[in-house]
């Protein structure tokens, strides 16, 4: 498969790196997966529940491992919720270590969140600092990609419009929130876009909504290979009403993961 929007004039393979949360890497196809089929190599560094600092950290890991370059590479970053804090390297049930990415623990606290995440949110976190962390992460991502002249699109996955309104911050922090807008290449978040259609499945945009978002905001990637991928993905998820009600079955998730593993490159990043 060949990349369409960035042509290379040599034999080097084209590469696409996607960063973000579950709106990028999930149990069904996301916008990143639709874009990814257009590239020779596709790396999905999204992590469900991740915060923006984690995306920024992973970008640095990827740059160190793969030496991002303007000739072959394209990067997308899906900005996630500001009220998140990913904690490094909790012990897993299998005895390994993994990121503790519990989603939004500050404004959407839940008794089901992991103990450490609840503790952090209750004892240490606050709206001002959370906004500053996200600003610093997004500004860092923007600075690195711009300075290295990497073609990229930064867009909002999650709707953060309630920050500064419902979630009060100081006037100085409000300025930092406003600045984040300047780093976004697409103003409408995938969240807002999908809400209009009320097509969420267990709080996530459906495969179809991801595709519609791509058609609207990434039209150069709405190629024949993308259309074919969408058709194929749809054949895996035939019953959208059931999907909306119950989520995918284990078989559907397995089928999707099998398919995905054929074309997503394994990266060697930590966690």
């Amino acid at each position: 498969m060949k990349m369409v929007s960035i042509r290379t004039f040599n034999e080097m393979p084209t590469r696409y790196f996607a960063f973000g949360c579950s709106f990028v890497n999930y149990q069904w196809p996301t916008i990143a997966d639709y874009i990814g089929v257009n590239f020779d190599q596709y790396y999905n560094l999204g992590l469900p529940g991740a915060c923006n600092t984690l995306s920024s950290s992973r970008l640095m890991e990827v740059d160190e491992l793969y030496n991002l370059n303007p000739e072959t590479d394209f990067v997308t970053v899906g900005i996630t919720g500001y009220g998140r804090f990913s904690i490094g390297f909790d012990y897993t049930k299998e005895g390994g270590r993994a990121w503790l990415t519990a989603g939004d623990t500050l404004v959407k606290s839940s008794p089901n969140h992991p103990f450490k995440s609840k503790l952090f949110a209750k004892q240490l976190d606050n709206y001002d600092w959370a906004c500053y962390r996200s600003w610093a992460a997004i500004k860092t991502i923007h600075t690195v990609l711009k300075a290295k002249q990497i073609k990229h699109v930064i867009y909002s996955s999650i709707d953060n419009l309630r920050w500064g309104l419902d979630y009060k911050v100081t006037s100085q922090v409000q300025k930092y929130l406003n600045r984040i807008e300047n780093y976004l290449n697409i103003k409408e978040s995938l969240d807002e876009f999908s809400s209009k259609e009320q097509g969420f499945i267990i709080d996530h945009p459906s495969p179809r909504q991801h595709y519609l978002y791509l058609q609207k905001y990434f039209p150069t990637f709405d190629t024949e290979v993308t259309k074919n991928a969408f058709k194929f993905f749809n054949s895996l998820y035939t019953d959208e009403p059931r999907l909306k009600k119950n989520g995918p079955t284990q078989d559907e998730i397995k089928q999707w993961n099998n398919y995905k593993s054929n074309y997503i490159k394994e990266s060697k990043i930590i966690g």
């Binding site: 390297f89 240490l124 606050n126 300075a147 930590i270």
Partner: protein, 266 residues
């Protein structure tokens, strides 16, 4: 165009007396010091990103130094006090080396319930790698050097291989290998200042900062630097920590550092 110098780091950069940054600063038209006592490396990265956002680094006029601080730190904004808590290294504490009873509860929580060595190393690696990448990509002349000695992370904490590799990478990213900490330990019988009121401060002294500059920042071992060092020695007030702190602020910081910018304070 005015030459500009930006210094980033912890208390080894911004202290109660002159540091290597204050001495280098004598050689520039504009000298900015973004050091913050007790801060972590992520804090240093964020300050650098803020400084770039506000003052637009450029390769023609600018020089930057980054003093890498302790790995076992985590700076955060206290939700009740609304201030940055930059309290130095909390990961030095464990069951065998407990903190004193007055140690803040939130830092105990961090040290014993949330943080760990691997995560701390990863955070510092990300921060220093990002700083190096940004400055290289923007073609800004810069020196990254270790302020604090982080070598214990290679030997004493029984860390997994990939974590040790990240510690080694942090050390490789430093242009100068010997930390200011090690330099003092290797070359002087004592460290710090004892004030007349009996209190002491164990940070490297002004002469130790100056000697470190002479060894590792040779191009800044100039007449201007010597004049600044002499000035800093002349204004030193040995009565107490507080009088020296106030005096240093009034007689040096106010006069010689450019503070014409507004970074975020909670």
């Amino acid at each position: 165009m005015k030459s500009r110098y930006f210094a980033f780091g912890c208390s080894y950069v911004d202290s109660r007396w002159g540091t290597v940054a204050d001495l280098i600063g004598a050689n520039f038209d504009d000298y900015y010091n973004f050091g913050n006592a007790g801060c972590c490396n992520t804090f240093i990265l964020n300050r650098l990103i803020e400084a770039d956002n506000l003052l637009k680094f450029n390769s023609t006029t600018d020089f930057i130094t980054v003093g890498v601080t302790g790995i076992g730190r985590f700076s955060f904004v206290d939700k009740d006090e609304k201030i940055w808590i930059t309290a130095g290294d909390h990961l030095i504490y464990n069951k065998n080396n407990p903190p004193n009873p007055n140690y803040p509860e939130k830092l105990k929580l961090l040290a014993f319930m949330i943080d760990d060595y691997s995560y701390a190393v990863y955070r510092s690696w990300v921060a220093i790698q990002t700083i190096s990448t940004v400055l290289q990509a923007k073609n800004i002349k810069h020196i990254i050097y270790p302020s604090l000695d982080n070598l214990l992370y290679l030997t004493d904490y029984d860390l997994p291989k990939h974590t040790i590799a990240k510690v080694e990478e942090i050390l490789k990213l430093c242009h100068i290998k010997e930390s200011l900490d090690e330099f003092v330990l290797n070359n002087y019988p004592n460290r710090g200042i004892k004030y007349e009121d009996g209190n002491s401060d164990s940070h490297p002294t002004q002469i130790q900062h100056y000697d470190y500059l002479k060894k590792y920042f040779k191009e800044f071992d100039t007449e201007k630097t010597l004049q600044r060092y002499n000035y800093l020695e002349n204004i030193f007030d040995y009565k107490s920590i507080n009088t020296q702190g106030l005096n240093f602020y009034k007689s040096f910081i106010n006069k010689h550092r450019n503070k014409n910018y507004k970074i975020w304070v909670p």
